[in-house]
Amino acid sequence: MKKIALAALTIFALLAVTISACGTPAPPPTPTSPPAAAPTPVAEATPIPEPVIGTTYKIGFAPAVTGGGSFLGVPERNVAEIIQASLDEAGGVTGPDGVIHEVELIVGDTESNPDVAASLARRYIDEDEVVALVMGSLTPISLAISAVAMEAEVPYVSMASAGVIVKNPDTGEVYHWVFKSPQGNLEVAQWQVERLTAMGAEKVCYMYENTGYGKDCFNNSSAQLTAAGFENVFEGSFERTDSEFPQVPGIEAAGCDVVIIGAIPPGAANAHVAIRTALPELPIMHGHGVCVADFITVGGEPMEGAEMPCSAVIIAEDVPADDPQKEVFMGFKSAYEEYTGEPVSTFGGHGWDALYWVVEALETLPEGLSLAEQRSAIRDYIETNIVDWPGTAGIFTLSPEDHAGLDYTSFTWFIVEDQEFVPFPQEDW
């Protein structure tokens, strides 16, 4: 058996050598760890008087790095690593009394599983004594965490999209300790309804990728579209690896006015190309999962005319300088692209916004508060002071009545023209 194991090892090594020797570029799939931010002695960096080092603040951070939500969780994890590196470089946050506190993001993985997430949240709260939680990329997971956070009275910012996370849909009660930073598939669906109304469409065909994201797109859109009086005449799921699309004759037979696709690239692009090739005249719309340059590169020519709502961060360079979001767009985009070597992910932005709310709140905490006081002060700060706050997803205005602070208009409607994402504002419809 030893011999076999040895052979397996050899073949693995040889494979790696053979394949990389043929001259293919070899970018690592996972971002390389950031240049280890040397813990610079704070005394050197700051002038006299000698700064006082306070307690370390811990933030419990856990997106869905693995499992069905990993398309969201991986960019969010990347963002946490970027922010941790930049906090380390700055030496931490400085309170209003001049006391410097190091900030530690405890990064975990919810595994896209509510049970894992809830016990992780409990561990963060009880053992790690975190001041705030930033967790949960998916709605069901966020609901599980929010129950724990409310019971333990810890401020919790969710990175999932559904409105039910922050507000009880039946009683209208806003959950005291819970916030969320993204707009999501619900808001996408609301935009799609606006656009379909403007187009004068009646019958809609829906295609979605057989993943957590695709199903969530479909559930939100079908509910919104039906409520708005559109007829959903066709629904079909597909797999990312599909090369044949038997759905296309079905779409043709259903006779719809518009096709909506809920997927991420390359699946979204493959489905788009299949439909566009067979039915050149049919308008095709997407969700915000395709807001990445890969979508157009993979699809090529047939992507022309694809429409989708995206955060304007994807065209950060072209946003006018006087736009309040310009600065945060550029900061986020350049940091993300530099760190990961990949085009910016709008999903990562949800982690960015959520973490910076908490970090900003930490800067207002004086030294000497008890853990319970710190937690409560962070909650109060986020609720009252995140007002006209430019984030990657939009300009947030939180209030005791609104713990999300965005609506669907924070998305910009885009169309693909000349192989570029081009804003397509409502006035031009």
């Binding site: 076999i4 494979l15 970018p27 990312r240 599909d242």
Partner: protein, 339 residues
Amino acid sequence: MQRYLGTKSVKMALTVAAAILLVAIIALLGYRNNYGPKAFAQWTMDGIRGGSIYALVGLGFVIIHSVTGVINFAQGEFVMLGAMLCASIFELDLPLPPAVKLVVAIVASVIIVTLVGILLERGAIYPARGAGVVTLIIITIGATIAIRATALIIWGTRAKIVPAFTNLHQNDLIFRPFGLTLGAQSLWIWGTVALVLCALLYFFERTIMGKALRACAVNRRAAELMGINPSRMSLLSFAMAAALGAIGGVVFGPVIRPQYDMGLVFGLKGFVAAIMAGMVSPLGAVLGGLITGVAENVGAGVTGLYGYKDLIAFVILILVLLLRPQGLIGGEERGVEQS
């Protein structure tokens, strides 16, 4: 003997009845959902295209299994490597006209993947040749995981682009015969499958080397006594299977956007095709692949259960194993039961 014939005719009758029932259901569903002959023609054509790649993968399974008795689950990874390498080499900034560059990319990727197949045999299968077949199969599963992980490290998760052979562009030339949609690449795929099948049949039936391979399949010890070196034949079968997988990946590259993990699906579907061939017949593997592809597309299309497309292939797999374990083509005495 009498009893045996009895079971056989019962099986036959059952198969025919099931086929008639299936056709009736499909016709009824098509009628109910307003699908005309055009939709069926489109599904069939798409299915034949998808099935062609299953056929090529199935051929690889058949070649290796008939010589060594091993089911090489890394077969799908050869397809992935072929497509990914072709795309990567074409992306390189070589001072060549695009057409020449594509030919270079195709030839180079097929050669490299063949070498990977040889390495796999010499490095992992040959040293363990004394172990049982099950151990060897598990080694191929290990190789699958290793190759996929290596591909992930080299290429990441992003999709690659292989240009269409006809217009050297990522978007293929489209023909519209009778209102159907037919990419020019489909013709390349079908031509390749036909050519490969003819070459293989010629090789197995007409050349000494091919006959030696078949001799190993029939009786390894006897072949050895006749002066055939089974270890060399095993190496040859892995090289051929890897080359076939790579050819499949290369011709199929332009109609899919290859990714590091695409091998799994093709491997499993190709396995279904190989099972339909009883793991021994090259012609059966091609037929099996085409049937799987068409059944998938027509089945998913007409029922509207698109999410269950893969289920159809595996239902076929189970049915074939239950009803005709010796494969669609082939006599009584050959087939998976025997090995």
